[in-house]
């Protein structure tokens, strides 16, 4: 009741006006502060959506476990117990042991960092390669633009597995082989999917306007074309990351992926898959992790796409 009296209202206002403003208003932010402010809004928007929150939690755990595995695992990776093979989950071995008596949980923990490395490298490779191709396809040089479209259409017909098998000849079973094969395949895919949007942006009046202001072709690509294909690129990168996890498992099973002895989810699956009918749990654990992570990566891409697009995120639109 007393809150509504003019006196109290006035005193509240005067108190507020006396307090110095601690933080800058959003519209006064510049440079990295503004970028950080917008990144905060994107993360917060994702967190407020169920799928975004789920993906952030799963991916957060993945990154955390990868870092922890560098310093600590419940059991040593190389500690094998010949008298305790295919053991059920217990206090000593949280997810049981495999055919050599090694701790399944420790191998999955250590495998998470290998898979994280493969995913990061593959996405970086695919992104760099794909964007280079997009730049060629929207170039003002007609011969270069047409030539690159034909080349991409021809190269995209080569399956990723075949590329990995060919790379296995000089490289053997290696992480580099997976990264190059997947990055090459998804880079081509990214370029083909992003091309129509990129072409629309490159031929738009706002690009003409930017050129009339003295922008170079490189500046136009990074400031205008890339900004407008960002939603497509985000979704493609998340798909690429998810498929890289699956490809790691598949290629390792074929013997051209992660070499045996290096912990990875694919190696854990491959080493136990022959015994699935007898000891199913040792296959189910890595399989379950791969499935959950792939789903989380795809959902993360969708959530990021929605949150980072100012046209579909009103909070980002209001932020200065």
């Amino acid at each position: 009741m007393t809150d509504a009296t003019p006196h109290n209202t006035q005193s509240k206002q005067s108190k507020q006006s006396k307090q110095p403003r601690q933080s800058k208003r959003p519209e006064q932010l510049h440079g990295w502060r503004r970028t950080l402010h917008r990144a905060g809004i994107i993360v917060s928007t994702m967190w407020h959506h169920g799928t975004g929150r789920f993906s952030m939690i799963v991916l957060g755990i993945w990154v955390l476990v990868s870092i922890v595995s560098l310093f600590w695992t419940p059991q040593s990776l190389w500690a094998t117990d010949g008298y305790n093979v295919w053991a059920k989950p217990s206090r000593t071995h949280w997810l049981g042991t495999d055919g050599t008596g090694a701790d399944v949980f420790s191998w999955l923990m250590a495998g998470s960092r290998t898979n994280l490395l493969i995913v990061l490298l593959t996405v970086i490779f695919a992104l760099a390669f794909g964007l280079l191709l997009v730049a060629l396809m929207v170039s003002r040089n007609t011969a270069l633009a047409h030539g690159s479209v034909v080349a991409i259409d021809a190269l995209i017909s080569i399956p990723t597995v075949l590329i990995a098998l060919m790379l296995a000849v000089p490289l053997g079973a290696s992480i580099l082989g997976i990264v190059i094969a997947c990055g090459f395949g998804y880079g081509l895919n990214l370029a083909r999917v992003a091309r129509p949007q990129a072409l629309l942006a490159a031929r738009s009046m706002y690009v003409q306007s930017a050129l009339s202001n003295g922008a170079s072709a490189t500046r136009v690509f990074f400031t205008h074309v890339l900004t407008n294909i960002r939603p497509v690129v985000i979704v493609q990168c998340s798909l690429c990351a998810g498929t890289a996890v699956l490809a790691e498992a598949g290629l390792t099973y074929l013997g051209v992926g992660v070499p045996s002895g290096v912990p990875s989810w694919g190696v854990s699956l491959t080493s136990s898959v022959k015994f699935i009918s007898i000891y199913p749990m040792t296959v189910i654990w890595p399989g379950l992790i791969v499935t959950v992570v792939v789903v989380a990566l795809n959902l993360f891409g969708d959530a990021l796409h929605d949150a980072a697009d100012p046209l579909s995120n009103p909070r980002l639109r209001k932020a200065q």
Binding site: H30, R140, S204, A210, S212, N213, G214, N228, L311
Partner: protein, 272 residues
Amino acid sequence: MSVTLSNVNISIASKPIVHNISMEIRDGQRVGLIGSSGSGKSMIARAIMGLLPQQASLSGTISVNGTQVVGMSDNELANLRGAAMGMVFQNPATSLNPLLRVREQIELPLKLHYDLPSDDRAARVEAMARKVGLPAELLGRFPHQLSGGQQQRVGIATALITSPRLIIADEPTTALDSITQRQIIDLLVSLVDEAHASMLFITHDFSVLAHATQYCYVLGDGEIIERGRTAQLLDAPQHDYTKTLVHAAQTLSLHTDTRSAAHTEGAHNERA
């Protein structure tokens, strides 16, 4: 800044667009280029800016302050554009990047041509926005959140922020209503005069040109068919094509005046 075009021919895919054009924009002069749609007006503007399409071929000479523009490298042209020459486009809704905020669009030429700290850049953007009549709170918005007139003010601010000596306005009022058209023309003229810059104003509407320019070229089918002081051309056009353009402008102005008079009268009656 003075611009001279001598015997300029432009063709696209072997189809002639502009034939043997010669024209001059003197230092501090506001020159109009009028013609119907498809007569090649925009191609002349793009030729001056060095922004012709890849498949276009250009012959003749275009000199900007005595420097030959035809044959310049992309880097040399990029240094000239924005810093010495600015361009305002026809449709503000499409000439602004939909995913960049107003502030980012206006500061782009500054980023390209001057090495300024971000605070200085922001201050200049705010000063320019004030000059073109854009409230500061609009700087953080996206183009689709602005009206057509506000969008065109952003276009003008972007073109003028580096104080170029030549402004090319390619039908800057075509996509706007008549009241906003007048405001934008007045703004453009005052800013150009204040900066002692030259302006090439392209339009297909004589009524617009009368307010914006001192001298005028009439373009028909890719050729200059008449030239002279804008007031003289409006009073006594010689060529049939010019007469048609002037007549069309007068008829439209008459209709607009009659309609606005009727509107005012109606409003008076309602009040009574």
